[in-house]
Amino acid sequence: MIKFDHVTHTYPSDRENETVSLSNIDLDIHKGDFIAVIGANGSGKSTFAKHLNGLVLPSKGDVIVDNYNTKDKENIWDIRKKVGIVFQNPDNQLVATTVEDDIAFGLENIGMEEHKMKKRVEWALNLVDMFDLRNSEPHLLSGGQKQKVVIAGALAMHTSYLVLDEPTSMLDPRGRKEVLNIIKKLNKEENITVIYITHFMSEAAEFNKIIVLDKGKMVLSGSPKTIFMQASVLENLSLELPQVTKLARLLSENRLDFPPNILNEEEMIEKLCLFI
């Protein structure tokens, strides 16, 4: 479990007041959770992500990862093994000349024996469906494939929490789908806990739980159905409904028996079939 206990974070700022980027966050993330984090630009999402593995430390309060406090320096490497972070731009995160070597990078750093390492890399490659491309050069892969290699690199460390900070914002539609499908599979089959930051409301709708940040505060949390019922609240937070949900609401305004809280395309098609 990752526990946020009254976490506040302030950045020093060039203006008179220091900038509060996280404000009194209380949150329990349980093993196997599948959480999306949404919020306007500057709402504290990335700072939140960096707290999860001690890249940034709380100014007040504590972040506890499986009983390790991120503030204790001797724990930091154990924490980083448990919590892997994937950032937006895959090109900045790939280091080696082949896919296999890239995934092995973290393991080499912790001095793992070669035969063990080989097995671990193979395992991680299979988890992200990239075994066939293990000898490819990373720069020749598509955006989605690159992100999968980055994810595999984290998994190879036996990460149990995967934090992804807008991993699809530079990808084409197929790449977005690939990444989303893989993390769904990792959550379902390997029970990897996923914390996924996104600006795409349609992506957030696919998670079990959504957390909404605003000016560093956690202002809403709940299932996508409950979050996306609150259209005007979201709008005030610079957010919006997924396109499909917008359509469902418009239809339900005209046709009272039509459900207003549809979240994805499949559900919409199914419902419309009953009506037309």
């Binding site: 306007a40 500057g42 530079m170 197929r174 977005r176 396109q243 098609i269």
Partner: protein, 292 residues
């Protein structure tokens, strides 16, 4: 001003061991006042094509004519070209570097020799176009702004040289929905109100479908489709999906329903259109009026 590409190919590292051909015999005319969307999967050559448009890259084969003039034949022309074809790269806020927003936006026009009162007027006008109040923002540091505001300043820097054609590479990536919508409104204004020619590259199919009048679909360095959004997303729906792209969400829903034999018009691009079409069909099926 019109842009004409004649048989343009581009190869990186020409005659070298790692030579890669990224554009393959592209023929294309973009007319004054058009709003063109370009889509294609990562690595299909979109960004290279944009750099050909404003003369940053020279075609390794073929030529690019602007208003009928071969821009690489007469080297002197390039500065003129860049003045009239503004390019905003991906994540343009990473290229901000000045101390104040004024200096940032003034950088381009100053390099073109604009000074004093006229410079101030130019900067004011550019900030005005992106709806940023000149007196409030001019002395602020661009680095104290939010992501959406930084993107606006970057676009204003392009507008400050008063280009006729504005090229935008993924202008809304990583912006929250509200900032995204306001940038899109801004782009629409640049087209409708200021009559700029717009060339927009995006992975967001909903955005391209709603804004562009014409879509170019690229694959492996070629333009494989060229037509209105309605034509592209209706007639080539399967092809679009097979090359790693997608239909806009509502277009996809209508397309699937039509495939299932529902009597719907499938060339739908926006939520409003979808709503109207669905309600129309629901009404036909009956039961609709009885509720009211």
């Amino acid at each position: 001003m019109f842009i004409h590409l004649k048989n343009v190919s581009f190869t990186y590292n020409l005659h070298m061991p790692f030579e890669t051909e990224v554009l393959k015999s592209i023929n294309l005319v973009i007319n004054k006042g058009e709003f063109v969307g370009i889509i294609g999967h990562t690595g299909c050559g979109k960004t290279t094509l944009l750099q050909i448009f404003n003369g940053l890259l020279e075609p390794t084969e073929g030529k690019i004519l602007i208003d009928g003039i071969d821009i690489h034949k007469e080297k002197m022309k390039l500065k003129e070209i860049r003045k009239s074809i503004g390019l905003t790269f991906q994540y343009p806020e990473n290229q901000l570097f000045e101390e104040t927003i004024f200096k940032e936006v003034a950088f381009g026009p100053k390099n073109l020799g604009i000074k004093d009162d006229y410079l101030e007027k130019t900067v004011k006008k550019a900030l005005n176009m992106v709806e940023m109040n000149y007196s409030i923002y001019k002395e602020r540091s661009p680095f104290s702004l939010s992501g959406g505001e930084m993107r606006r300043v970057a676009i204003a820097s392009t507008l400050a040289i008063d280009p006729e054609v504005i090229i935008l590479d993924e202008p809304t990536a990583s912006l929250d929905p509200q900032s995204r919508n306001s940038i899109l409104t801004l782009i629409r204004e640049l087209h409708c109100r200021y009559h700029k020619t717009i060339i927009l590259v995006s992975h967001n199919m909903e955005v391209v479908a709603e804004l562009a009048q014409r879509i170019l679909v690229m694959e492996k360095g070629r333009i494989i489709m060229d037509g209105t959004p309605r034509k592209i997303f209706q007639d080539f729906a399967e092809k679009i999906e097979s090359i790693g792209l997608a239909l806009p969400q509502v277009t996809y829903i209508m397309y699937k329903l039509k495939q299932m034999g529902k009597p719907l018009n499938s060339g739908i691009l926006t939520i409003e259109e979808a709503k109207d079409e669905i309600l129309k069909v629901m009404k036909k099926k009956g039961g609709y009026d009885e509720i009211f």
